[in-house]
Symmetry: C3
Subunit: 292 residues, 3 copies
């Protein structure tokens, strides 16, 4: 389903497993890294970690999304892997969300390909059979927030300088209906309605108060806490947990699957508007000025 197969390096940090013939497509992995995401699997616990390492801000470019989907699929098909912790290797940022350069001044074909990859990321992560825990060690606006919302559990560093939210409205754009559905499933209709209309970026303590994240911990305890939460979820029999998860999320997943091509067309039409292109260009200018 990921339409841009990437070649990726084989186990970079561990010696090859002598019990595994090399080169089989779904061979159990120890660790593999490609350009933007470091994936490590601890076979003893069955827990993988996906670490975003795409500076400066882990933005969700087409390359990043493609790599994310391939890595997730690889783990999903690996019987040694039962859970994934998603976190960032870039200080202060979890993920800045969709890469605006992918949405600015490109061809219709590019917009379609990009949007399909965004959908794919969400369909795979929100519908994953694995236990998924977000260890949010930095700010996480827009698409970065969606990534976190799509996991089973969210732990955030309790630093009030880190914020999270679906702030699309601030950029003059609108979160797609399936971002909204995911948000409503997490925080309820009223909190979602207010937060989406205001394009709010909630500092960690407020995000916790509103239920956007489940727990706050000091930043240096984040990975430890994520491992403990993962162990708690993995104590359940996989089959019953997976069926239960599917029962809770299926209606919302099915809705995008049923309207996927329409949603792509809608995105292309919206993003191609001169007024929207102008908004995005202004936003990028503002970001550039902020840096300098």
């Amino acid at each position: 389903l990921c339409h841009r197969p990437l070649a990726w390096g084989r186990a970079t940090q561990q010696p090859p497993d002598p019990l595994q013939p090399p080169g089989l497509p779904l061979a159990p992995c120890r660790a593999f890294s490609n350009n933007k995401i470091l994936v490590e699997l601890d076979k003893s616990s069955g827990v993988a970690t996906m670490k975003f390492k795409s500076p400066p801000v882990n933005s969700l470019s087409l390359d990043f999304l493609t790599e994310f989907c391939i890595s997730l699929e690889k783990l999903e098909n690996d019987r040694a892997c039962r859970g994934v912790i998603i976190t960032s290797a870039v200080p202060k940022i979890f993920s800045s969300g969709l890469d605006i350069t992918e949405m600015c001044g490109k061809s219709m074909e590019h917009y379609a390909e990009f949007w399909r990859a965004v959908q794919e990321m969400w369909l795979r992560l929100y519908g994953s059979n694995m236990v998924t825990v977000a260890a949010i060690n930095g700010s996480s606006p827009a698409g970065g927030c969606l990534l976190a919302l799509s996991c089973d559990y969210r732990i955030m560093a309790e630093n009030p300088k880190f914020s999270i939210g679906l702030n699309e409205a601030q950029l003059g754009i609108v979160a797609p209906f399936w971002f909204k559905d995911t948000f409503v499933n997490t925080v309820g209709h009223r909190v979602a309605e207010r937060s989406l209309q205001l394009g709010s970026l909630h500092p960690a303590p407020e995000a916790h108060k509103f239920g956007i994240v489940d727990e706050l911990v000091p930043e240096d305890k984040l990975q430890e806490k994520a491992a403990a939460v993962m162990a708690q979820w993995l104590a359940l029999p996989d089959h019953a947990r997976q069926l239960t998860k599917s029962m809770m999320r299926k209606a919302v997943l099915d809705r995008l699957v049923a309207h996927r091509e329409e949603d792509i067309q809608h995105f292309i039409t919206f993003i191609s508007k001169e007024s929207i292109q102008k908004s995005l260009r202004m936003y990028m200018e503002m970001l550039k000025k902020k840096k300098s």
Copy 2:
């Protein structure tokens, strides 16, 4: 859509705008007042205030509802207006809800006309493109509560003598499904289920605890706070905010639009029952005794 056009006076508190030809139906207004609602528009901020001034209790009569719809439509079509604050000019009461005299001992035709006006009020307010803030400076039962729930944000005077809620069940009647949908969207299913069955009128602090209102402030800070909240919502680009609002509210609005005539028939059948008429007469008697 408002079926009883009212004539209303032109700007009563401001001199006529020399730049505007008089008498055009949708000419940008400064202030206009009619019998029951005072409307003022501050062109510099783009914020209008609708002040209910229909003593003794701002009940939602057919005349009041018609005036409300016309005023709201006027503002909706006025490019100078981006937001509306709804509040009361009558001490201690925001609005007492639907006028029971409109539902007692009248003709079928009257019931139909009245109910269509109630629907219209909700369709326009809940679906408004403007930012809508309720500054609830008094009690607000039943239809008065619906008015507040239909806004984007609710601020209430923190006086525990003021109460708010959908208390229809106390009168022996049932809140329509779209009152219920609006309530569920605001407070969630469980709080709505309990509150509707008990016909609860919640004192301001409890209303805040249950999420019926978003914020409490001292009564003398209410208008100031409403203006500040409005400014926060108006900081967002209109187009993105409007599309987001529509995405959140469309399902519930569409449900009434699809069942509007059935809903009118249902109301007529219900309200015409002798048992219901008797309940309402008893309730009016009780109100009269309370006064004297």
Copy 3:
């Protein structure tokens, strides 16, 4: 609708009512008891109490469920009865949920009959016209939790040793969609998703925090509090309260009614799997060891 009519004793604690001809099927009752549930009706208040007395743990066997449905129907049709308080006569346990022996090593026909009785219990209780209050004076896992969730109001003894929750996933099985719907209507989507996936049994204080129960009271005040809450709910006119309740619960009730036979087939297929049978046998072994 209850397919296994039980004979039950007539008024055991009260003398026969001289105004009532004996033996009429729906004669107003004072008290009747059969094997597993003691039912007492206080005609002056219109409030019945159903006390589960099926030691050791009030498990929901086919016999228990049949008796429950017949008793509830009897009260539902008794004009002297307007509300029911459900509680336990067995110390420390409200109800342990579905009787696993009914789901282990039995025929397809038995599974079908049992599952239909579970559905029936929920359809009748969640859809009851009476006010239903659960006075939860002990632990209440799985089906026991569903019983409580199906009432209008839940009061729990504040003993942290008592726990409640839909813990099916712990047993390797999955709560049916209508258990889930009832849970979501009570606690919202996010709390339900997390609690169901973890198969959580929440100690009373946590159950209260998450909204699974409405109130905690000291155990010796439980019945008194239940009576007070019942009086509050009975202060409303029955007709309006019933229509309001139906409006809130109809969508979820209709969903099971529309898919009832499928749901039975699904249960039979699932429960007949060797892997599931093995899980249940292991669970029963574990329970036996715990006891000894």
